[in-house]
Subunit: 115 residues, 2 copies
Amino acid sequence: MITLDYQSRTPIYEQIVNEIERYISLGILKAEEQLPSIREFAMTLGINPNTVKKAYEELERRGSITVISTKGTFVSKNIGGVSQRKIKETIEKIRDEIRELEKLGISKEEIIKKL
Amino acid sequence: MITLDYQSRTPIYEQIVNEIERYISLGILKAEEQLPSIREFAMTLGINPNTVKKAYEELERRGSITVISTKGTFVSKNIGGVSQRKIKETIEKIRDEIRELEKLGISKEEIIKKL
DNA sequence: ATATTTGTACTAGTACAGATAGTACAATGC
DNA sequence: GCATTGTACTATCTGTACTAGTACAAATAT
Protein backbone atom coordinates (compact mmCIF):
# COMPACT_ATOMS: atom_id res chain seq x y z
CA MET A 1 0.00 0.00 0.00
CA ILE A 2 2.41 2.64 1.21
CA THR A 3 6.13 2.30 0.69
CA LEU A 4 8.48 3.94 3.12
CA ASP A 5 11.91 5.29 2.36
CA TYR A 6 14.10 4.86 5.37
CA GLN A 7 16.98 6.67 3.70
CA SER A 8 14.94 9.79 3.17
CA ARG A 9 15.39 12.79 5.37
CA THR A 10 11.66 13.23 5.78
CA PRO A 11 10.48 11.39 8.88
CA ILE A 12 8.40 8.26 8.55
CA TYR A 13 5.31 9.80 10.10
CA GLU A 14 5.50 12.64 7.59
CA GLN A 15 5.87 10.25 4.68
CA ILE A 16 2.69 8.58 5.88
CA VAL A 17 0.92 11.93 6.08
CA ASN A 18 1.97 12.80 2.55
CA GLU A 19 1.00 9.46 1.11
CA ILE A 20 -2.40 9.42 2.75
CA GLU A 21 -3.13 12.92 1.51
CA ARG A 22 -1.95 11.95 -1.93
CA TYR A 23 -4.29 8.98 -1.94
CA ILE A 24 -7.14 11.20 -0.82
CA SER A 25 -6.38 13.74 -3.53
CA LEU A 26 -6.20 11.01 -6.13
CA GLY A 27 -9.52 9.57 -5.04
CA ILE A 28 -7.97 6.27 -4.03
CA LEU A 29 -9.17 6.98 -0.52
CA LYS A 30 -12.73 8.24 -0.52
CA ALA A 31 -14.62 10.45 1.92
CA GLU A 32 -15.69 8.76 5.15
CA GLU A 33 -13.79 5.64 4.23
CA GLN A 34 -12.24 3.89 7.21
CA LEU A 35 -8.47 3.78 7.49
CA PRO A 36 -6.60 0.85 8.98
CA SER A 37 -6.39 0.92 12.76
CA ILE A 38 -3.21 2.27 14.26
CA ARG A 39 -2.02 -1.16 15.34
CA GLU A 40 -2.90 -2.86 12.09
CA PHE A 41 -1.30 -0.17 9.98
CA ALA A 42 1.83 -0.30 12.10
CA MET A 43 1.99 -4.05 11.67
CA THR A 44 1.62 -3.80 7.91
CA LEU A 45 4.34 -1.19 7.62
CA GLY A 46 6.55 -2.93 10.14
CA ILE A 47 6.87 0.14 12.33
CA ASN A 48 5.85 1.19 15.80
CA PRO A 49 2.21 2.10 16.51
CA ASN A 50 3.32 5.41 18.00
CA THR A 51 4.66 6.49 14.65
CA VAL A 52 1.34 5.83 12.95
CA LYS A 53 -0.40 7.58 15.80
CA LYS A 54 1.73 10.65 15.22
CA ALA A 55 0.86 10.64 11.52
CA TYR A 56 -2.85 10.32 12.27
CA GLU A 57 -2.60 13.21 14.73
CA GLU A 58 -1.07 15.44 12.09
CA LEU A 59 -3.64 14.40 9.52
CA GLU A 60 -6.44 15.19 11.96
CA ARG A 61 -4.88 18.56 12.76
CA ARG A 62 -5.01 19.32 9.05
CA GLY A 63 -8.60 18.22 8.82
CA SER A 64 -7.87 15.43 6.37
CA ILE A 65 -9.13 12.66 8.61
CA THR A 66 -11.39 12.30 11.61
CA VAL A 67 -10.51 10.14 14.56
CA ILE A 68 -13.34 8.64 16.56
CA SER A 69 -12.37 6.97 19.77
CA THR A 70 -13.14 3.27 19.98
CA LYS A 71 -14.60 3.43 16.47
CA GLY A 72 -11.72 4.02 14.19
CA THR A 73 -10.15 6.56 11.89
CA PHE A 74 -11.92 7.89 8.84
CA VAL A 75 -11.26 10.09 5.86
CA SER A 76 -13.00 13.43 6.37
CA LYS A 77 -16.37 14.21 4.80
CA ASN A 78 -15.32 17.19 2.77
CA ILE A 79 -12.26 16.07 0.95
CA GLY A 80 -12.21 18.88 -1.57
CA GLY A 81 -10.06 21.01 0.68
CA VAL A 82 -7.28 18.46 0.73
CA SER A 83 -6.57 18.44 -2.97
CA GLN A 84 -7.26 22.17 -3.24
CA ARG A 85 -4.59 22.79 -0.63
CA LYS A 86 -2.19 20.45 -2.35
CA ILE A 87 -2.71 22.21 -5.66
CA LYS A 88 -2.22 25.64 -4.16
CA GLU A 89 0.96 24.59 -2.41
CA THR A 90 2.40 23.02 -5.51
CA ILE A 91 1.64 26.01 -7.71
CA GLU A 92 3.29 28.23 -5.14
CA LYS A 93 6.38 26.02 -5.13
CA ILE A 94 6.63 26.20 -8.90
CA ARG A 95 6.31 29.97 -8.79
CA ASP A 96 9.18 30.15 -6.30
CA GLU A 97 11.37 28.03 -8.52
CA ILE A 98 10.59 30.11 -11.56
CA ARG A 99 11.55 33.19 -9.58
CA GLU A 100 14.87 31.55 -8.75
CA LEU A 101 15.51 30.76 -12.40
CA GLU A 102 14.63 34.29 -13.43
CA LYS A 103 17.29 35.57 -11.07
CA LEU A 104 19.73 33.40 -12.99
CA GLY A 105 18.76 35.27 -16.13
CA ILE A 106 16.22 32.91 -17.66
CA SER A 107 12.87 34.30 -18.72
CA LYS A 108 9.60 32.66 -17.83
CA GLU A 109 8.97 31.95 -21.52
CA GLU A 110 12.23 30.07 -21.85
CA ILE A 111 11.41 28.02 -18.78
CA ILE A 112 7.96 27.08 -20.06
CA LYS A 113 9.48 25.98 -23.34
CA LYS A 114 11.68 23.49 -21.50
CA LEU A 115 8.86 21.87 -19.58
CA MET B 1 26.10 38.40 4.11
CA ILE B 2 24.42 35.06 4.69
CA THR B 3 21.41 34.74 6.92
CA LEU B 4 20.79 31.46 8.66
CA ASP B 5 17.43 30.05 9.58
CA TYR B 6 17.78 28.06 12.76
CA GLN B 7 14.13 27.00 12.62
CA SER B 8 14.61 25.38 9.25
CA ARG B 9 14.91 21.65 8.93
CA THR B 10 17.83 21.96 6.52
CA PRO B 11 21.07 21.84 8.48
CA ILE B 12 23.20 24.95 8.85
CA TYR B 13 26.08 23.57 6.81
CA GLU B 14 23.71 22.84 3.96
CA GLN B 15 22.20 26.29 4.10
CA ILE B 16 25.70 27.66 3.72
CA VAL B 17 26.35 25.40 0.73
CA ASN B 18 23.14 26.57 -0.92
CA GLU B 19 23.77 30.23 -0.29
CA ILE B 20 27.34 30.14 -1.55
CA GLU B 21 26.26 28.37 -4.72
CA ARG B 22 23.45 30.85 -5.15
CA TYR B 23 25.92 33.71 -4.87
CA ILE B 24 28.20 32.07 -7.39
CA SER B 25 25.32 31.52 -9.80
CA LEU B 26 24.19 35.10 -9.40
CA GLY B 27 27.68 36.40 -10.05
CA ILE B 28 27.98 37.95 -6.62
CA LEU B 29 30.89 35.64 -5.99
CA LYS B 30 33.25 35.58 -8.95
CA ALA B 31 35.64 32.93 -10.19
CA GLU B 32 38.85 32.59 -8.21
CA GLU B 33 37.63 35.04 -5.61
CA GLN B 34 38.75 34.24 -2.10
CA LEU B 35 36.15 33.19 0.44
CA PRO B 36 36.40 34.07 4.12
CA SER B 37 38.58 31.74 6.14
CA ILE B 38 36.83 29.03 8.08
CA ARG B 39 37.46 30.71 11.40
CA GLU B 40 36.49 34.17 10.22
CA PHE B 41 33.33 32.97 8.54
CA ALA B 42 32.35 31.03 11.64
CA MET B 43 32.89 34.14 13.76
CA THR B 44 30.75 36.25 11.44
CA LEU B 45 27.90 33.78 11.43
CA GLY B 46 28.24 33.07 15.12
CA ILE B 47 28.62 29.35 14.60
CA ASN B 48 31.28 26.71 15.13
CA PRO B 49 34.21 26.51 12.69
CA ASN B 50 33.57 22.81 12.18
CA THR B 51 30.22 23.61 10.66
CA VAL B 52 31.79 25.95 8.12
CA LYS B 53 34.44 23.36 7.44
CA LYS B 54 31.76 20.83 6.64
CA ALA B 55 30.10 23.24 4.23
CA TYR B 56 33.40 23.97 2.49
CA GLU B 57 34.08 20.24 2.17
CA GLU B 58 30.75 19.70 0.48
CA LEU B 59 31.29 22.65 -1.84
CA GLU B 60 34.70 21.32 -2.80
CA ARG B 61 33.24 17.88 -3.42
CA ARG B 62 30.83 19.50 -5.84
CA GLY B 63 33.61 21.37 -7.56
CA SER B 64 32.22 24.77 -6.70
CA ILE B 65 35.21 25.88 -4.69
CA THR B 66 38.86 24.97 -4.35
CA VAL B 67 40.53 24.65 -1.00
CA ILE B 68 44.25 25.29 -0.81
CA SER B 69 45.93 24.41 2.43
CA THR B 70 47.52 27.28 4.30
CA LYS B 71 46.41 29.63 1.53
CA GLY B 72 42.69 29.84 1.72
CA THR B 73 39.48 28.89 0.00
CA PHE B 74 38.59 30.13 -3.47
CA VAL B 75 35.71 30.04 -5.87
CA SER B 76 36.49 27.61 -8.69
CA LYS B 77 37.85 28.77 -12.04
CA ASN B 78 35.08 27.40 -14.20
CA ILE B 79 31.90 28.52 -12.55
CA GLY B 80 29.62 27.81 -15.48
CA GLY B 81 28.90 24.33 -14.24
CA VAL B 82 27.51 25.58 -10.98
CA SER B 83 24.63 27.57 -12.39
CA GLN B 84 24.08 25.03 -15.17
CA ARG B 85 23.62 22.35 -12.55
CA LYS B 86 21.29 24.55 -10.52
CA ILE B 87 19.17 25.26 -13.59
CA LYS B 88 18.91 21.61 -14.54
CA GLU B 89 17.94 20.60 -11.03
CA THR B 90 15.29 23.29 -10.78
CA ILE B 91 13.73 22.45 -14.13
CA GLU B 92 13.58 18.82 -13.09
CA LYS B 93 11.85 19.77 -9.84
CA ILE B 94 9.26 21.78 -11.72
CA ARG B 95 8.65 18.88 -14.07
CA ASP B 96 8.04 16.58 -11.11
CA GLU B 97 5.54 18.97 -9.62
CA ILE B 98 3.70 19.35 -12.88
CA ARG B 99 3.47 15.60 -13.09
CA GLU B 100 1.92 15.56 -9.60
CA LEU B 101 -0.64 18.16 -10.61
CA GLU B 102 -1.49 16.28 -13.77
CA LYS B 103 -2.31 13.26 -11.64
CA LEU B 104 -4.81 15.47 -9.82
CA GLY B 105 -6.47 16.14 -13.14
CA ILE B 106 -4.96 19.47 -14.10
CA SER B 107 -3.50 19.83 -17.56
CA LYS B 108 -0.12 21.35 -18.21
CA GLU B 109 -1.79 24.23 -20.05
CA GLU B 110 -3.95 25.07 -17.07
CA ILE B 111 -0.92 25.05 -14.83
CA ILE B 112 1.06 27.36 -17.08
CA LYS B 113 -1.86 29.80 -17.15
CA LYS B 114 -1.72 30.05 -13.37
CA LEU B 115 1.98 30.86 -13.20
C1' DA C 1 -20.74 -11.81 30.67
C1' DT C 2 -16.51 -12.14 28.19
C1' DA C 3 -13.19 -11.26 24.81
C1' DT C 4 -11.63 -8.34 21.26
C1' DT C 5 -10.75 -4.05 19.10
C1' DT C 6 -10.66 0.76 19.08
C1' DG C 7 -8.16 5.16 20.29
C1' DT C 8 -5.64 7.44 24.18
C1' DA C 9 -1.95 8.41 27.19
C1' DC C 10 1.82 7.70 29.40
C1' DT C 11 7.10 6.54 30.53
C1' DA C 12 11.60 4.97 29.31
C1' DG C 13 15.10 3.97 26.24
C1' DT C 14 17.73 3.85 21.78
C1' DA C 15 19.86 5.76 17.76
C1' DC C 16 21.42 9.21 14.91
C1' DA C 17 22.63 13.72 12.89
C1' DG C 18 23.86 18.24 13.68
C1' DA C 19 26.36 21.26 16.11
C1' DT C 20 29.62 22.73 19.71
C1' DA C 21 34.08 22.84 22.21
C1' DG C 22 38.71 22.30 22.44
C1' DT C 23 43.21 20.91 21.11
C1' DA C 24 47.02 20.14 18.10
C1' DC C 25 49.67 20.13 13.80
C1' DA C 26 51.96 21.67 9.41
C1' DA C 27 52.57 24.99 5.77
C1' DT C 28 52.62 29.75 4.25
C1' DG C 29 53.57 34.65 4.30
C1' DC C 30 54.76 38.78 6.74
C1' DG D 1 59.17 34.83 15.31
C1' DC D 2 54.34 35.32 14.67
C1' DA D 3 49.84 35.26 12.82
C1' DT D 4 46.91 32.93 9.57
C1' DT D 5 45.66 29.21 6.74
C1' DG D 6 43.49 24.52 6.33
C1' DT D 7 43.52 19.87 8.54
C1' DA D 8 42.45 16.40 11.81
C1' DC D 9 41.17 14.66 15.80
C1' DT D 10 38.15 13.52 20.13
C1' DA D 11 34.60 14.38 23.30
C1' DT D 12 30.23 16.19 24.34
C1' DC D 13 25.62 18.19 24.06
C1' DT D 14 21.14 18.48 21.99
C1' DG D 15 17.01 17.66 19.58
C1' DT D 16 14.36 14.53 16.86
C1' DA D 17 12.71 10.24 15.30
C1' DC D 18 11.63 6.05 16.54
C1' DT D 19 11.04 1.95 19.41
C1' DA D 20 9.18 -0.66 23.37
C1' DG D 21 6.00 -1.47 26.64
C1' DT D 22 2.20 -0.72 29.65
C1' DA D 23 -2.38 0.64 31.05
C1' DC D 24 -7.00 2.47 30.50
C1' DA D 25 -11.91 3.39 28.90
C1' DA D 26 -15.38 2.87 25.45
C1' DA D 27 -17.53 0.30 21.92
C1' DT D 28 -18.49 -3.99 19.62
C1' DA D 29 -18.99 -8.90 18.74
C1' DT D 30 -19.73 -13.54 20.44
